[in-house]
């Protein structure tokens, strides 16, 4: 971009370094990557050092410092995508399209990159191409897409299915994504927009709202399960000239896609929930942090927000509530799982690398720009609306003794009916498997890679916070799948790629564990390797954030629940085999110095 064009973008963003994400997005929308010259000019205008800009750009999957092709394909490499045939698609792109894995084709036309779960596990294999979603790919579709790209077609002309169901077909969205809603409950049932704000909240004090949420015993739906009422109360009590409400729509946990469906079908509820939270804690501003993979919804969501603003639900005195104002915006992410961690989400919104902060202080005390901030999951806000509407008592009566209400689960993998199910807490795993038409199930991953891999003797366990907790992801693997090769290895690679690198154990141990896995898979493992993995895995609890705390879970939980799968692969009667091949290790230097390698 020219110096002038860049200056205009910076000016539009008030030369504010906190708007760096938006500025970079605008540059990427225009030319696909940031050039060295752009970095220099941005550095001058935003007063950020060049190295700082580079480290921020390189942190995010979807920012680049060199061209990634006129068409950029990000092919999902999740475990689910793999079992639905990703490899075949990739092969077509490489062999027939001249693509290079994680690079650009020599003619500069097509870039092919891997990316972790893009939230389409119910319609894999899927890819993002120039920000648009293409689902249910087959080898044939891949060939067609290549053909179209070579012809230079615009993306919207490459669809061969009608738009998805429900509001996927909205003129501001026009996506081919399907909702796959299989079971509805209070959250997913049709509702009238902003009714609760109009009818109930306007008659209640902030304290009364808070009281209902507490009464409901609602716990966060993003994974960690922190009591929402308590979080709101802390933020309400915190000192601050301003306060913020953040909606966490980063939905990065592989296998989860329930927020995608809520954002599509229930955006008004989400926004209503944010307004209600704002009212309860005394915040005037909201930010919805939308993962880049869901960029296809951005125009649509902005349209909804604008409409609500025009209808008087956002801005000064929403729904006529006196002495209260609330407005919001969308912050688009740029590809990073760890940005879903609430303090990393805030860092990212401030235009930085999404590295989790040390706590305390917690975001409710010092969050966005140092102001008290509540961060909640998309689904949590939707639940809050229903709680205010029907009362905390009503909500409290749903679910189990310690897990109240309903939970949206995203079911994917080997089953007949993948999709979204709204369930009261308390179903057993067996109920769920039956409901979704899963046969000959070998393993179920509950709660994404950071959760637990459950074996078939544990199917009577119950979905609730104290047993099988989940942020929403349920991935099913049947008898055809290998637990270690198809599941554990993929999850470990995910954590290795997604660690922000701040903490030494999180940066190193998953890598070492993965090397152990490779050793075991190559037939050189011994019982000592299993013992090492368990010991090293236990060290992960000293990391700073939840990613590090759970990054060894795929191994620890499969060692616990699928130990025989490991033991079968071990060498017997020895507790040590070296993986170092001396001949191989001494070959290069021997050749370089004209000598014989050592045998």
């Amino acid at each position: 971009m020219t110096q002038h064009e860049l200056k205009i973008i910076c000016e539009k963003n008030h030369f504010d370094r906190h708007s760096l994400m938006d500025i970079l997005h605008e540059i990427h929308d225009h030319q696909g990557f940031t050039t060295e010259e752009d970095i220099r000019i941005l550095s001058e205008n935003l007063k950020i050092s060049e190295i700082d800009l580079r480290q921020t750009i390189s942190f995010y999957h979807f920012f680049a410092c060199s061209s990634r092709g006129k068409y950029t394909i990000y092919l999902n490499n999740s475990a689910i995508s793999n079992l639905k045939g990703r490899e075949e698609i990739e092969k077509v792109f490489i062999e027939e399209g001249g693509c290079v894995k994680n690079g650009v084709s020599p003619d500069g036309l097509i870039g092919l990159y891997e990316t972790p779960c893009i939230g389409m596990s119910d319609q894999e294999p899927a890819a993002l191409i120039n920000g648009r979603i293409f689902t249910n790919l087959t080898a044939f579709r891949a060939k067609e897409l290549l053909h179209n790209m070579k012809k230079g077609l615009p993306l919207e002309d490459m669809y061969t299915t009608v738009y998805g169901d429900g509001r996927n077909a909205h003129p501001e969205m026009k996506s081919i994504v399907r909702n796959n809603i299989r079971r509805v409950g209070p959250l997913l049932r049709p509702s009238e927009k902003m009714q609760v704000l109009k009818n109930q909240v306007s008659q209640m004090s902030p304290e009364q709202v808070l009281e209902q949420v507490k009464l409901a015993e609602l716990r966060g739906r993003g994974g960690a399960g922190f009591p929402t009422g308590l979080k709101w109360q802390f933020c309400r009590m915190a000192e601050g000239k301003k306060k913020y409400v953040f909606c966490n729509a980063d939905e990065g946990e592989p296998g989860t896609f329930k927020d995608r469906v809520l954002l599509t079908e229930k955006p008004e509820d989400i926004i209503e929930g944010m307004i209600i939270a704002g009212y309860a804690i005394g915040a005037q501003e909201g930010v919805l942090y939308l993962r880049y993979e869901y960029k296809y919804m951005k125009n649509y969501l902005e349209y909804i927000i604008q409409t609500l603003r025009e209808e008087g639900f956002l801005g000064k005195n929403p729904a006529g509530i006196k002495g209260f104002s609330f407005d919001m915006r969308i912050q688009l992410g740029a590809g990073s799982y760890v940005c879903g961690e609430e303090s990393a989400l805030i860092e990212s919104t401030e235009g930085k690398r999404g590295e989790p902060r040390s706590r305390p202080p917690f975001p409710v005390e010092k969050g966005y720009l140092g102001y008290p901030t509540v961060v909640n999951n998309v689904e949590t806000f939707c639940a809050a609306v229903k709680i205010v509407q029907f009362g905390g008592d009503w909500y409290n009566s749903l679910g189990t003794d310690e897990s109240k209400g309903t939970k949206l689960v995203s079911v994917s993998g080997d089953c007949r009916y993948p999709g979204i199910y709204e369930l009261e807490w308390g179903f057993t795993m067996r109920d769920v498997l039956e409901m979704v038409g899963a046969k000959e199930t070998r393993a179920v991953q509950m709660g994404g890679p950071s959760g637990e891999l459950v074996n078939k003797h544990q199917f009577d366990r119950i979905l609730c916070y104290s047993d099988l907790a989940t942020g929403g992801s349920i991935m099913i693997f049947d008898r055809r799948r290998n637990v270690i090769e198809d599941v554990v290895v993929n999850f470990m690679e995910f954590f290795i790629n997604e660690s922000c690198g701040s903490c030494v154990p999180c940066r190193n141990i998953p890598k070492l564990l993965k090397e152990k896995l490779d050793k075991i898979l190559s037939g050189k493992g011994t019982s000592q390797d299993l013992a090492d993995m368990e010991r090293w895995g236990a060290m992960m609890k000293i990391n700073r954030c939840g990613l590090g705390h759970t990054a060894a879970h795929p191994i620890l939980s499969s060692l616990k629940n699928f130990r025989s799968h490991y033991e079968r692969k071990l060498r017997k009667h020895t507790d040590f085999i070296s993986d170092v091949d001396l001949l191989e290790a001494s070959k290069e230097a021997a050749e370089y110095t004209n000598r014989e390698p050592v045998i």
Partner: protein, 181 residues
């Protein structure tokens, strides 16, 4: 009763860990009372003359000789200990692990800014060990029984660990001795 026998070696290390061992100061006298040294730079015994109870290894394996020595130690020692960061993780020498060994050799002997090597000769005498493609931590080459962390591990840590091994009494190592930030 015979005194326990100790052997030590420095592979791809800087002898810092050995210096730290000497740093136990007057306890050295006590140590000599407690143990007998065999192959070690400390007494300059070059070859094993008997089986050994405790082997202390400083440094990882960066060349074929290191591997040979380490394997010999494993054969001779009942208990083998990785002493310090380089033995445990490869340490500073392992910084080259992301660079090919040819590039390293070229930089060192051919193209370095301060190198004068008119005939572009690379060291290749048969006597010289061959450099490995990477620096390997000891436990990837042979089984190691214990690990004493630190760069170097403090004299106190080495002392405590040795005494525990010799006396056979498990010791709680104070946190301060293995805390490095």
């Amino acid at each position: 009763m015979n005194k326990p026998v100790v052997a030590t070696a420095s592979l791809a290390g800087c002898f810092g860990c050995h210096m730290s061992l000497l740093d136990i100061d007057e306890r050295l006298v006590e140590l000599i009372d407690l143990v007998e040294f065999n192959k070690s730079p400390i007494d300059d015994i070059k070859k094993f003359t008997k089986d050994v109870d405790i082997g202390l290894i400083e440094g990882g394996c960066c060349n074929t000789e290191n591997v040979e020595v380490l394997k010999e130690f494993r054969k001779k020692c009942k208990t083998l200990i990785s002493l310090g960061e380089c033995a445990i993780m490869g340490g500073l020498p392992a910084l080259r692990n992301d660079i090919t060994v040819s590039e390293c050799l070229a930089e060192a002997y051919l193209d370095g800014p301060t190198t004068v090597n008119e005939h572009r000769i690379l060291p290749n005498d048969e006597e010289l060990p061959i450099i490995l493609n990477k620096v390997y931590p000891c436990h990837e080459v042979v089984k190691m029984d214990y690990f004493l962390p630190g760069c170097p591990p403090s004299a106190d840590l080495i002392w405590e660990a040795l005494v525990a091994l010799i006396t056979g009494e498990e010791k709680e190592i104070p946190y301060a001795l293995i805390k490095y930030d």
